[in-house]
Symmetry: C2
Subunit: 325 residues, 2 copies
């Protein structure tokens, strides 16, 4: 059977993860990586690199384009343009702007008879699926989402802006106490701050005032002030050795009730060594779905809510029913 032919737009951590995920997908092949940089500057083993401006010439060579840009500026600009030429998947994750983004992409994809699956990954993505399934199955109940243990890029950046800080990383940690309450079916009211604490590892400049750095971090509005925050000072070597990965994960838990007060606890969780590699793996699986939906003339923008599980699997319907049901 012919393989599904994929293009990747963007060679950051997500694009690199997508290359790895395609390598282990026997029914999918990578045609090229498209970049805004000089394509000659990217030397990727066995992978063709092209300038993003060449993409329009590859409409007949590529079944699905995986958009690996960021949500702040890349995707709002690129997704509607690419949806006019290709089936696409993206990981747009600015929650508040999803409805607007969906409309933009939908308009483009409907007019070009292409299929675009937006906001694919784990949150939004797998977590969203579980919030919907749990809510539909247990109408009486409450959904909870916890994030972590995970490296937060935004909070790490905030630490690094503090005077006297040379390097720093921040982990978001879900509160075990809050999770236990939720798992017991109590359906407590919990703020984001009550659900999470923040742990920082900081490399200070030589001679910097540590107490003042710690105080400035802990009192930083929005980022840390409302949270239980811990600040640890470490050496540059320790940072390199212990904090160079991008782990993440989290939990979606629903405490539901059925009948005469029976508690039903629904839980989904991920514990990821590499956030971008996992997100890219989800994108590649949903590229399969975009290709298949398009073959069925299901045009326009879709979300993970519109995709049946079988569409992301390389296995046949018969095999799934026999071995996985």
């Amino acid at each position: 059977m012919a393989k599904i032919k994929i293009g990747i737009v963007g060679y950051g951590n997500l694009g690199k993860g997508a290359i790895e995920a395609i390598k282990v997908s026997p029914d999918i092949e990578l045609v090229a990586v498209f970049t805004r940089r000089d394509p000659q500057s990217l030397q990727i083993d066995g992978v063709k690199t092209l300038h993003i401006g060449d993409a329009p010439n590859y409409q007949n060579e590529i079944d699905v384009m995986i958009l690996c840009g960021g949500s702040a500026t890349d995707l709002p600009e690129q997704a509607p343009i690419f949806a006019e030429m290709f089936n696409t998947v993206d990981s747009f994750d600015t929650h508040a702007k999803i409805p607007e983004f969906f409309e933009l992409v939908n308009r483009a994809a409907v007019s070009s008879k292409k299929t675009s699956i937006i906001s694919v990954g784990w949150d939004p993505g797998l977590f969203s699926i579980n919030r919907v399934l749990a809510d539909a199955i247990l109408p009486v109940g409450e959904n909870y989402t916890f994030w972590g243990k995970g490296l937060s890029q935004g909070h790490s950046d905030a630490i690094r802006r503090v005077e006297g800080v040379k390097h720093g990383v921040q982990y978001t940690i879900p509160s075990e106490d809050a999770m236990d309450k939720v798992r017991s079916g109590l359906n407590p009211e919990l703020s984001t701050a009550e659900k999470h604490s923040r742990v920082c590892y900081v490399v200070a400049e030589e001679g910097a005032d540590l107490a003042s750095i710690e105080n400035e971090i802990k009192t930083m509005p929005n980022y840390f002030a409302d949270y239980n925050t811990e600040v640890n000072f470490i050496t540059e070597e320790e940072l390199q050795r212990d904090h160079s990965k991008a782990p993440h994960g989290g939990f979606v838990i629903r405490g539901g009730n059925t009948g005469n007060g029976n508690k039903q606890i629904y839980e989904f969780s991920l514990k990821l060594d590499s956030n971008p590699e996992f997100t890219a793996s989800v994108l590649v699986a949903y590229a399969r779905a975009a290709y298949r939906l398009n073959k069925e003339n299901q045009y326009g923008a879709k979300s993970v809510f519109d995709v049946a599980p079988s569409y992301i699997s390389p296995r046949t319907a018969e095999e799934l029913r026999k071995d996985y049901l």
Copy 2:
């Protein structure tokens, strides 16, 4: 908007659970419960009861029939017959016979232009969905399914057949040790017996030989001999007080690898006070999907693999994207 009109076939624990689930579903209404017994003998508050033989007269009154019979004899007989008259959902759970069951139901539903979603519940059902998603997203890895803590009807029956046993219940307990190994990403080889232990609570007849009962249970082939089995003798009062519910649940865990050996742990779990009420809640949510798929002319037998998440939710696509994505 008109509500989705449901009929329930069978008034056992699952049928009772379905009545409760429909009560909390604002877009769904119950038309009648169909039974093989004398319908006059069932007095259910506010619910019409009819003989199962009257079902053919209700084809215009009922959008989806929820089949709440057992997998051993009821469903293989009823499902193909009902699929000739109604959209249906069922919880057929004899894993080895699913392909054959699917074909039977599919033939009936295709010819009648009806839609039947088979093997709905949590295993098969939600667990199956998670096995497929995890496998598709993390092709390099291993799926593990653990059951429990849960009351096993088959094993409880086996205990009660032992001479000198008056009453007894058996719980299947997942091994914490095995789960920890799986969660660490080691992807160990584990037999079903290594993944679970069995805990029995037995009420003995007066004067019975307890040591001999314990020995007979622990050495019973297939049921207990291969397992770490614990036998506790309790009084009739304790059994009534502590063991009258039907709790169940379990775990689907995939240990996956991406890129250069990064571990990615995917986990789904349920902790259920009432197994039949939860299963019935899943059936009612998928009845919504059967109704909608049929409206879209998607005829024939389907499994949970063929149903996109939005189809089981009472919420609009806009609401889901805005609040759940």
